[in-house]
């Protein structure tokens, strides 16, 4: 290995010795890279754990009110009906907007529409927000 690393002496090595040197380098290199990064993984996970535990306790009461808002995006995802969403208050406005949008698309008056059920197609993002996000990603050049 020493002769392999010395630019003066590498010429004198046979090809089997070269293979050996190259393979050792590869094993050492990949091995060390993996060991170092795995170690970092372990330590990051460990530190994050400690921090989240210590921050989790004092935040206990404040975390509670945020829980309903966190779960709300999944609520409309599950087949939101007009009667159910009307109870939340913002639902009627949302229904009006959707009705207006459909009416504009169909070219009729909202009075001709009867909305029985509004449900999300998939996930909690709309095609519009997805298109917008892809556009932003595409427009960013580094």
């Amino acid at each position: 290995m020493e002769r392999f690393a010395d630019p003066e002496m590498i010429q004198g090595l046979s090809s089997s010795e070269l293979v050996q040197g190259a393979l050792i380098t590869t094993l050492m290199g990949m091995g060390t890279t993996f060991v170092v990064l795995t170690l970092l993984w372990a330590i990051i996970a460990f530190v994050s754990n400690i921090i989240n535990k210590s921050e989790g306790k004092p935040q206990g009461p404040t975390a509670a009110p945020t829980a309903p808002t966190a779960s709300s995006p999944s609520a409309p995802a599950a087949a939101q009906t007009t009667s159910a969403s009307a109870a939340t208050g913002t639902g009627t406005e949302l229904i009006a907007v959707i009705a207006a949008a459909i009416a504009a698309l169909e070219g009729t008056s909202p009075n001709h529409l009867i909305i029985r059920k509004i449900s999300r197609v998939s996930g909690n993002s709309t095609p519009w927000s997805r298109a917008g996000a892809s556009e932003i990603i595409d427009s960013r050049k580094f």
Partner: protein, 390 residues
């Protein structure tokens, strides 16, 4: 009398002193300028590189004339003392290993390690994508390069310009021009090189996997991260200290919350200034007579191999992790483990979205992507400790 003067003047023009190789390099430089300006290939890097190349290949400018010190004259009296050409003086900052760590300072100040902290498993993908470095190393040994040269060629596969320059100046400075040009050109070509490999190695079903949203990372974690990484990596691999240390210092400026001014400078004016000088001097080092040699062609071929194998390594480990996690990890994020921030992550995003338009892999891919920066700096540290000092 006048005729003789005119004749003499004509002989001192660049036109009369043009040689074939410089001519070819000028054409290459003009092609790069076209690619950068018209086709938008990494213009921020390619424009200074191409212009440096153009200027240093125009004859008789002396702009890349090497410095000759009084000591050199003493050793070899046939030389005359000179401070050297402007671009060579810029270049000496590369040679002394100053510019690459400074670039890393700026990169650190621009990088959000949040996705990596939220999903530290991606560090493994950042390590797997360094496979290209070492397979290329083997290839280069067989093409007749010595270990130092092979290591410098392999590091192209790290897809990290500053790291490649840093390692090459320490191990094989005579190859710097070719390696830097190859590394930066391939980085610009990441969106062309990677997708076919990613598609061959994954199934449609795997490409469509949606990943769970990443958790929110607290500021305290973000502050501790650069400190821990610096200490651990430097303890294991002291030669990586300059690169990793500067990267993490830049990141600490960003995350500490009390050094906003430093962070702003490092990520804007500072990195731009260094990029201009580094780009010019790297381009200028690609001078026809020394650049157009068979070695350069070998390096360019090996470089693309390095990129391809690195991408494959990342995707393959991604597949393993996908299987182990019960199909929760999309293997496409593995290819982002070759550094090339943020192009490689954008490629993962694009390939994933081509299969499933509602899939957003970008933030998941940023984890392996920034892990790749750490990974290639670590790989450079390993190579330096094995082959440095000769």
């Amino acid at each position: 009398m006048i005729l003789a003067t005119i004749q003499e003047f004509i002989l001192t023009t660049g036109l009369m002193n043009m040689d074939m190789k410089s001519g070819i390099m000028i054409i290459v430089a003009l092609t790069f300028l076209y690619l950068a300006i018209r086709r938008g290939f990494e213009p921020l890097l390619l424009v200074p590189i191409a212009f440096g190349m153009l200027l240093s290949n125009l004859p008789l400018t002396g702009i890349f004339e090497h410095t000759v010190t009084a000591f050199d004259v003493y050793m070899d009296p046939s030389k005359t003392e000179t401070s050297g050409g402007l671009f060579y003086l810029f270049y000496s900052f590369n040679k002394l290993g100053i510019f690459p760590p400074l670039i890393f300072l700026g990169i650190g100040a621009m990088t959000d390690f949040g996705p990596l902290i939220a999903n530290p498993k991606s560090l493994l993908l950042g390590a797997a994508a360094q496979l290209g470095i070492f397979t290329t190393f083997i290839g280069a040994i067989f093409l007749g390069f010595n270990a130092q040269e092979a290591a410098s060629i392999g590091i192209i596969g790290g897809a990290d310009g500053p790291t490649a320059i840093f390692l090459t100046t320490k191990l094989a400075p005579h190859l710097l021009g070719a390696i830097a040009v190859a590394a930066y050109s391939y980085m610009a070509l990441v969106p062309v090189i990677q997708p076919p490999i990613m598609k061959v190695l994954t199934t449609k079903k795997e490409r469509m996997i949606k990943m769970d949203q990443l958790r929110v990372v607290s500021q305290r974690e973000k502050i501790l991260f650069p400190i821990f990484v610096t200490v651990i990596v430097t303890l294991i691999l002291p030669p990586a200290a300059a690169l990793v240390g500067m990267l993490m210092l830049g990141n600490l400026f960003k995350e500490s919350g009390c050094t906003a001014r430093l962070s702003e400078t490092a990520s804007n004016a500072f990195i731009n200034i260094v990029t201009i000088l580094l780009g010019i001097s790297v381009g200028a080092s690609a001078q026809g007579p020394t650049f157009l040699v068979p070695e350069t062609i070998k390096i360019i071929v090996l470089g693309v191999l390095a990129f391809a194998v690195g991408t494959a390594g990342g995707v393959l480990l991604g597949k393993v992790m996908c299987a182990l996690s019960g199909g929760k990890i999309n293997p496409l994020i593995g290819s982002a483990g070759v550094s090339a921030v943020p192009m490689a992550a954008r490629v993962s995003q694009k390939v994933g979205q081509a299969e499933n338009p509602s899939n957003f892999l970008l933030m998941h891919a940023m984890g392996p992507n920034v892990a790749g920066v750490i990974g290639s700096a670590v790989a450079a540290g390993v190579l330096l400790s094995m082959f440095g000092g000769y």
